[in-house]
């Protein structure tokens, strides 16, 4: 990793948390994890549940300071919130007291952009995610998929160079999810940003990304494998899953992941009885 053209680098990140059960023994969520994203590259990070994927992303966003390790944005050390990055959360993170349009314009408003100008830009972004006529609705009046679209527009309206996405579509049903994935790819192809897309779904990771990074099971999560996805673009996430190349990649990555998933599973649940 000496390329020098990385827009985001995480180097030997370790995150320790005070354990609730035993304050003397800190819980190491992430250990010595390094990863880097090139400008305009779509990187998917997969790992078993509870492995500290979100922790890693929060470090990249500047929301969480690592216990040790370095974060660099365009080669510069990160101080405070990562201003170059947009973040899309797994949970609903829209402000419920703002209409869809006001949510999209929130970031512009925080940055002191004049209200009329912000409204025009916000409306354009709502149009781009297919919600042009829904600007006046409040989040509770929108469906789960629509709320995700608003969140996407909210993030993209600030034109961030780096997109951090934490399982953004995991709460959606399969059809809505594939629609959203295709729209994300279309928006991304039109204006290529660096993306870190966290997911636990390997198929989603392969169909979206240029590169898949596999994380180990927690505690002490770190990358254990990296796979270049050489599937042609533009892609349709539903169709590409049927191609032989996709299946071959899936088999290879799943093979690398399987042990970690079993480890994570064993740590969370009591072992099944013999022969079960």
């Amino acid at each position: 990793m000496v390329d020098g053209h990385y827009s985001l680098e995480l180097e030997r990140i370790t995150c320790r948390f005070a354990s609730r059960d035993d304050p003397g023994m800190p819980y190491v969520a992430v250990a010595e994890a390094s990863l880097a994203v090139r400008a305009g590259e779509f990187v998917a990070v997969v790992g078993p549940t509870g492995c500290g994927k979100s922790t890693l992303l929060n470090v990249a966003a500047g929301l969480l300071a690592p216990s040790s390790g370095a974060v660099r944005v365009h080669g510069e050390p990160l101080v405070g919130i990562n201003r170059k990055a947009g973040y899309m959360f797994q949970a609903d993170a829209l402000m419920p007291w703002r209409s869809a349009l006001a949510n999209v314009t929130a970031g512009l408003e925080f940055r002191g952009i004049e209200a009329g100008e912000a409204r025009a830009q916000g409306q354009a972004w709502l149009q781009r995610v297919g919600l042009g006529g829904f600007g006046a609705r409040y989040p509770h009046q929108l469906s789960g998929g629509m709320r995700k679209r608003v969140a996407l527009a909210q993030m993209l309206a600030l034109d961030p160079e780096i997109l951090l996405m934490d399982e953004p579509f995991s709460a959606l049903d399969v059809q809505t999810r594939q629609l959203m994935e295709n729209e994300l790819l279309a928006l991304w192809s039109a204006n290529r940003k660096s993306v870190i897309f966290i997911t636990h779904d390997l198929e989603e990771a392969i169909s979206l990304s240029d590169r898949v990074i596999v994380l180990s099971a927690g505690p002490g999560t770190h990358p254990i494998g990296e796979f270049v996805i050489d599937l042609p673009r533009p892609r349709d996430v539903a169709e590409i899953r049927l191609t032989p190349r996709f299946v071959a990649l899936h088999t290879r990555i799943w093979h690398a992941m399987k042990d970690e998933v079993m480890k994570a599973y064993a740590a969370q649940y009591a072992p099944l009885p013999e022969g079960a």
Partner: protein, 264 residues
């Protein structure tokens, strides 16, 4: 609309029952003397007559004005203080941890017993009643705002920070609106308690106000006037509660309501 008719019908039935049971012409079945029921429970027609007299004669206006002013002052000052304190302690965990036992103690204390002290401090005029009302309103609003600030969704907060909100913008655009829904939940209670502060204060010692009128009437066993005063206070408490509800529906349009979709 059917509910409204049923409600009016119930009111009419209650008044009719009350009137019949206390009318001296109706033979008494519990008291040994037909006049006793009227003595203890008043008579609805006389109560209404008393209310009408008050308003037509104009005798009530200065008293009502004093009580309402005390109530409104206590309500507004207590609410503003509660919001300010709630925001501060909600955002300053160290200060909150230090003050915690004191706040708990003040809240647990039956604050009506402060009324005599306030009278010594602030005299028999309006100030002592307002002070009593404030102590009642403040804690309800304070606890709700405090809770509201601490229960801001972490995702919404992190999102606003990622969108570039400064500390002040977080306060203005995230903490305040989030706390506001809790504030309104508490305001309905506080309106009633502001009235309690004003009336109890007047009752314990004053020269004007509806509480004073009630106290005077009670001294001469004029039960009809006592009940007329109670009804008047209830009516105005309802009006104030309605006003809070109206403001709430204006400010809280973003909140989902259980009745948003009705089955046809």
């Amino acid at each position: 609309m059917k509910v409204r008719y049923a409600q009016l019908l119930l009111l009419f039935a209650l008044l009719l029952g009350w009137g019949l049971l206390t009318d001296p012409r109706v033979p008494a079945f519990y008291f040994d003397n037909p006049d006793k029921a009227a003595f203890f429970f008043g008579e609805p027609l006389k109560v209404l007559g008393r209310l009408a007299n008050w308003f037509v004669g104009g005798e009530i206006y200065p008293h009502l004005w004093v009580t309402l002013l005390e109530t409104l002052l206590a309500f507004v000052l207590g609410t503003v203080g509660g919001i300010a304190m709630g925001l501060w302690l909600g955002l300053a965990p160290t200060a909150a941890a230090i003050l915690d036992p004191y706040i708990k103690a003040l809240n647990a204390m039956p604050r009506v017993i402060l009324a005599p002290i306030f009278m010594v401090w602030f005299g028999l005029g309006m100030a002592s009643k307002v002070a009593l009302g404030i102590t009642l309103v403040f804690f309800i609003v304070f606890f709700n705002v405090y809770q509201g600030v601490r229960e801001v969704s972490p995702a919404v907060l992190a999102n606003a920070r990622m969108l570039g909100a400064s500390q002040r913008q977080l306060l203005r655009h995230v903490y305040m609106p989030s706390a506001l829904s809790w504030v309104f939940a508490s305001l309905h209670n506080s309106v009633g308690l502001a009235f309690v502060g004003a009336v109890v204060g007047e009752y314990l010692g004053s020269a004007e106000g509806v509480g004073y009128l009630i106290h005077q009437a009670e001294g001469v066993f004029d039960i009809n006037t006592v009940i007329a005063g109670i009804l008047l206070l209830t009516l105005f408490a309802l009006v104030l509660d309605g006003a809070v509800g109206w403001i709430e529906s204006r400010l809280m349009v973003w909140q989902p309501h259980a009745g948003d979709t009705t089955q046809l």
